[in-house]
Amino acid sequence: MKKNLLVKVILILLLTVACGIISYGYPLFGKKFNLSLGLDLSGGSHLVFEADAGGLHGDKKEQALKSLRDVIEKRVNLFGVSESNVQTSNFEGKDRIIVELPGISDPKEATALIGQTAQLLFAEVIEIEGEKGSTPSSQVVPTDLTGADLKSASTVFDQNTGKPSVSIEFNEEGSKKFEEITGRNIGKAVAIILDNDIVSAPSVNEKIVGGKAQISGSFTVEEANKLEVQLNAGALPVSVKLVEEKTVGATLGADSIAKSIKAGLIGLVMVMLFMILSYGKYGIIADISLLIFGVITFALYKILPPPFAITLTLPGIAGFLLSVGMAVDSNILIFERLKEEIKNRPFASALEVSFGRAWDSIRDANVATLATAFILANPLDWSFLHVSGPVRGFAMTLALGIGISLFTGIVVSRNLLRLFVKDEIRK
């Protein structure tokens, strides 16, 4: 029994030290773990687009939405945002794409990049002979050569004018089509159309073989870069509209972190003092297990893999603070019970009885809280509940906090108290 207890206490100590190392930021087994911060803390943009898949139904619509998500993700990655997150959500027939871009400084540029359909078309310009005397009008007839036939696009500077333009390379099929089209239109113009706007309509001097062309409109460097990304990622299969944007600057986020940490520490000190004042030496044990709770929780924030990975948000910090309160509750329940039981039996057996009885209340109460946390976190991505954002962040930290508090409240406090009892008897 004695040996057993010692082993347990040593195991708890080892766990705490390991978690402490991870929390402090030292690499463990050669791997360094970082805390992933939500947009409200790190700064960045949360964008919600609504897809207009009006004409599509069933499988076709699903396919279009999937490819929409993929194209947007490609664009975001090509834009150079690290740790971005693109997800779809459907609620009562409305299809949404949620895009999270951490650390972005100009969200306007990003929304323009993501939200534009970027449907590239090549069209023939056909002159129509008007009635005698009137000026001939021209008609633009789209060909079957589109952005889908592209192999790659890149920003270049025009050799003659020095202006930025976009050089494109067709794939095999596209090259063939382009050869045919240019061959048909020698001496005439071929229009390059982007989202129903004619970007340029250069005239063709000769049949172009090899599948290379250049789009030179009146671009700025930024516009050329944007078009390059859009063409490389492909056109959006359906058009989208921005319905929500939340951008938090990095300074505001850093300020929030600093304030929450300060508030959390002061709250924690108050709680610890309160426990010592109310429960004396037991309070000290509760405080030790509370500190262990903090260290383990923080370490898990860093190392949990998806789908349980924690992205710390402002509500998430609040969820953590609330779970501190609930972690202390386990100890309070046990100590209050101990006060009663100690009247009837010796300390050691009163301790075991208290833990046993208090466990029922702790379990029943925490299951109810976990059920709510489960609904709020919505880990199965049920579309009729919130699928992202602050609510999920809050629920995840609350649920994790409850789980760990069960461990520290029951296992850690209990074994520390047992150790304590042994000493008491020896004296």
């Binding site: 919600v48 609504e50 609620f91 306007k108 921005l242 319905v243 929500e244 944007e245 939340k246 951008t247 938090v248 600057g249 300074t251 505001l252 300020d255 929030s256 304030k259 929450s260 300060k262 508030a263 959390g264 002061i266 709250g267 108050m270 709680v271 309160f274 109310s278 402002l314 509500p315 609040a318 969820g319 603070l321 609330l322 501190v324 309160g325 609930m326 202390v328 309070i332 209050e336 009663e340 009247k343 009837n344 009885r357 029922d360 209340s361 029943d364 109460a365 925490n366 299951v367 109810a368 809280t369 059920a371 709510t372 609904i375 709020l376 009729f384 509940l385 602050p390 609510v391 809050f394």
Partner: protein, 275 residues
């Protein structure tokens, strides 16, 4: 020993109508405010634009607009740039987001309440326990929502997405607290105590006496954490913390003074009818 501890027992249930009256006062004020002034909904619900920016002299400005077109939004952004100010926060919410948020919240509320009702009913093998726990939970959320209706009217506090989270959390906290008290009642019901008999009033009195210190101490620890968030946690989560604070206090009160009295009254009425 047992008899001795029962002598220290406080006859909590003797005053149950006072507790009902206290709750009624708060509920009536809250519901009155809700009906008269409603809730001061933020852009998460109504749609619109909020910007927060810092001028060169360090002054921070907050501006709010209703639903705007894309051009108007660009213009607002341009104006901030012209001032040379640093954009701290920029939020645009389309008009279609709010109704969706409200519906999803109702679903979340409904499912959580059902899950909790089932859990409590199964654990305590009585639908009476489940329903009185849910009633106490509704009591707490009404006080919270009513309280924010008053805060909205007098201090212009807005209801946002975070408030929804606070309400849902308070639901679980309320039940969490109630279950601890119920648990003691269940334990006493199982073990027949000749001093208490099988009288629900006596059992409830004894259970409340034994759990009162725990309930108060536990709320104190949560209140300490929340209070420091309210005072020092920054503007972004101040009202969120206030919401949790109101809910925690109400949730602590409602376990012994709403859920248990309802349970006791119900049992007494049932007994009278059986006779």
């Amino acid at each position: 020993m047992r008899l001795e501890s029962n002598q220290n027992m406080i006859l909590w249930m003797k005053y149950k109508f006072i507790y009902f009256a206290v709750s009624a006062v708060f509920l009536i004020v809250g519901i009155f405010s809700l009906l008269k002034w409603g809730l001061n909904l933020g852009i998460d619900f109504t749609g619109g634009v909020v910007t927060e920016y810092q001028l060169i002299n360090g002054e921070i400005k907050l501006e709010k607009y209703g639903v705007k077109s894309e051009e108007e939004i660009s213009k607002i952004r341009e104006n901030i740039k012209i001032l040379g100010a640093k954009e701290l926060r920029f939020e645009v919410v389309g008009p279609s987001i709010g109704p969706e948020l409200i519906k999803k919240t109702y679903y979340a509320l409904g499912i959580s309440a059902l899950l909790i009702l089932f859990w409590v009913a199964i654990q305590f093998k009585s639908i009476k326990f489940g329903i009185s726990a849910i009633l106490a939970m509704i009591h707490d959320s009404l006080i919270l929502v009513g309280g924010f209706s008053l805060l909205g009217h007098f201090f212009n506090v807005e209801i946002d997405f975070l408030f929804v989270t606070a309400v849902l959390t308070i639901l679980s906290f309320s039940v969490h607290d109630t279950i601890v008290v119920y648990d003691r009642i269940r334990e006493k019901m199982k073990k027949y105590d000749p001093a208490l008999g099988s009288d629900i009033t006596g059992i409830a009195n004894s259970a409340l006496t034994e759990t009162m210190v725990r309930s108060i101490n536990n709320s104190f620890t949560i209140i300490f954490m929340l209070l420091s968030l309210v005072l020092m946690g920054g503007d972004t989560i101040r009202w969120f913390a206030v919401a949790l604070l109101i809910g925690t206090i109400s949730g602590t009160y409602s376990s012994p003074f709403v859920a248990v009295p309802i349970l006791v009254t119900w049992e007494e009425l049932e007994k009278r009818f059986r006779k």
